[in-house]
């Protein structure tokens, strides 16, 4: 037969279990507004029974663990979406900056080209007028300056993005170090059969932050996880983290290395992926178009200029208006300059006769001629600006779509892992009553013991 002491122990176990469950409920309520917190549920189980033939007596209850409620598939989806969000955010930010550089009035290439052709049109009305000739040189200088400015902005933006790469890599290393450390703590607790819910939440939050920076794959194993990039480069394995490093690559920009191997081209998502896409694809693409435009315009103007005659009736052979751009077009926009300073050298005449304006008219006619890729200079420039605007609009829409999906996933996560005050209030009363009932049982056993003690005396 079970003794009073055994009943007392059983009641005490109920008291301890209710106390533990109350602690979990209190912790849930306290963390209702903590981002990434997963509610904890006390898992109770009956104590091992004692068999005293022919009867079997229970030994009370024990709190096996406090289980954090989380959905691994949902967590994985959130991490994936966070990567997309990080990538698009970086891309939109970079493209919007490029767009503002192209639409600002200070570096308006389209306006400068129009004014240059207008000045040429005015010159054709009075080709001997030196002030009109000076206006042409000024307008040509403005065209060159606007190209130089736009190109300079792109170079400066690439430099800023390059710094962003270093900064992101630094943050990645810091986060992987923290995750590796948490992996160790989680492994110790779980190996000892303890609940590591709080550390799991912290690790999940850190992985989310890491996901916003770089494309991460999470590979769970016994009591720990391995993190790699999407292409398989190890970032964290158990309690060890593998730092990334940066170094100047052959093109003069920062490349990313993992254990001496260049992984720059394999990073396609997260903030780092977005920065790299803007730095290595979008901006160089725009720079090439700008170089093509600058070279196409300069070559076309030079071709007409060198076929004419200057104010003194001398042939302008070899006297370019713009310094000829390189054949490779590389740096054509950045280095575009006006080649002449003497306004008399502008070849307005086609035949050398005084007052002839045929060549000035031919230069003005370039305004509507297809000079670059079947388009006039102004149209080609408009296409560049339109494409940038279109990229910004599409990327912004994609970012918004990603935000909506992420919000939906976070709502789903909250439904699974979030704290419900109603549920916790009910739990609080349930466990409070269980605690009170256990206390009453102890009081009853105490009085029974008192009776027994008094009987002996």
């Amino acid at each position: 037969m079970s003794s009073l002491n055994a009943s007392l122990a059983s009641a005490l176990s109920g008291l301890a279990a209710a106390q533990g469950a109350l602690a979990a409920t209190t912790n849930n309520v306290a963390n209702i507004n903590t981002p990434g917190y997963s509610r904890q549920v006390p898992i109770l189980e009956t104590g091992d029974p004692i068999v005293l033939d022919p009867l079997t007596f229970g030994t009370g209850v024990r709190l096996r663990t406090l289980e954090s409620i989380r959905n691994p598939i949902l967590e994985s989806q959130i991490q994936q979406e966070t990567q997309t969000q990080g990538e698009l955010s970086a891309l939109v930010s970079a493209l919007a900056q490029t767009q503002s550089n192209f639409t600002s009035t200070s570096g308006d290439i389209g306006g400068a080209i129009s004014k240059f052709f207008d000045s040429m049109n005015q010159l054709s009305t009075s080709p001997s007028d030196l002030s009109l000739r000076r206006n042409v040189l000024t307008a040509a200088g403005n065209v060159a300056t606007s190209f130089n400015l736009a190109s300079g902005h792109l170079i400066a933006q690439r430099t800023n993005l390059d710094q962003g790469v270093e900064q992101a890599v630094g943050e990645i290393n810091q986060l992987t170090g923290q995750i590796a450390q948490l992996n160790g703590q989680i492994a110790i607790l779980e190996n000892a059969g303890e609940s590591a819910g709080t550390f799991l939440d912290q690790r999940s939050q850190l992985i989310n932050r890491l996901s916003s920076l770089v494309d991460v794959s999470v590979i769970p194993s016994d009591n720990t996880i391995t993190l790699t990039t999407a292409s398989g480069t190890a970032l964290v394995a158990g309690q060890q983290n593998f730092s990334l490093s940066t170094g100047t690559g052959p093109s003069g920009v920062q490349h990313i290395f993992a254990q001496n191997s260049d992984i720059t081209a394999t990073i396609v998502s997260g903030q780092l992926g977005g920065i790299l896409a803007a730095r290595d694809q979008q901006i160089p693409g725009i720079a090439v178009q700008l170089d093509t435009l600058a070279a196409g315009l300069a070559n076309a103007v030079n071709q007409v200029q060198t076929a004419g005659y200057d104010l003194n009736g001398n042939p302008a052979t070899g006297v370019n208006l713009f310094n000829p751009p390189p054949a490779s077009l590389d740096g054509a926009a950045a280095n575009l300059t006006v080649a002449i300073t003497d306004p008399a050298l502008i070849a307005a005449s086609a035949d050398g006769t005084p007052g002839s304006n045929s060549n000035a008219e031919a230069m003005y006619a370039l305004r509507k001629q297809a000079l670059i890729a079947g388009q006039s200079a102004s149209d080609y420039y408009s296409t560049i600006v339109f494409n940038i605007g279109n990229s910004v609009a599409n990327s912004t829409a994609q970012q918004e779509a990603s935000s909506l999906v992420l919000q939906q996933l976070n709502n789903q996560r909250s439904a699974v892992s979030g704290v419900s005050l109603d549920e916790e209030a009910a739990n609080l009363m349930r466990f409070q009553q269980a605690y009170a009932a256990s206390a009453k049982v102890i009081a009853a056993i105490s009085s029974l013991m008192e009776v027994v003690i008094n009987m002996k005396s």
Binding site: N394, A397, S402
Partner: protein, 139 residues
């Protein structure tokens, strides 16, 4: 937003102000429907998405049936509030397109998964650039 009258009164056909007002009302209603459909795509509510798409088609038919604004030709100079509504609709359309494209990718992955281990990850028949072959015929 108040529902549109089933048949607009005749005088608006010759009044630019009335035309702009009606156009603006239709644009705003269409934008609201697209926004609602966006939420339906995110929450995976196919019935709501289908209903929203049908309503969008109806509104679009109304918009395209409007005559060009008198005196402005094919590219009318709309008032600023109409331009704002056009921009909003364009942006919402882009967001919707991005969401639908993502959904399509998910569906493609699920289809490939359900197709079994013998199927590859090549584009499905019927997609752009992939010819449909009649059943039972090879090549």
């Amino acid at each position: 937003m108040a529902p549109l009258p089933p048949n607009p009164p005749e005088p608006w056909r010759t009044a630019p102000f009335e035309l702009s007002r009606l156009y603006l009302q239709l644009l705003r209603e269409l934008a609201d429907r697209v926004e609602s459909s966006t939420q339906a795509v995110v929450s995976g509510d196919v019935a709501r998405l289908e209903a929203g798409t049908a309503e969008q088609c109806r509104l679009w038919q109304k918009i395209v049936s409007l005559p060009p604004e008198p005196g402005h030709g094919a590219d009318p100079a709309w008032p600023p509030e109409v331009v704002d509504a056009q921009q909003r609709l364009l942006h919402l359309g882009r967001v919707q397109r991005a969401l639908l494209r993502r959904s399509q990718q998910c569906l493609r992955a699920v289809c490939n998964l359900l197709a079994g281990p013998h199927s590859g990850y090549a584009p499905m028949a019927g997609e752009a650039g992939v010819e449909l072959h009649p059943a039972g015929k090879e090549g």
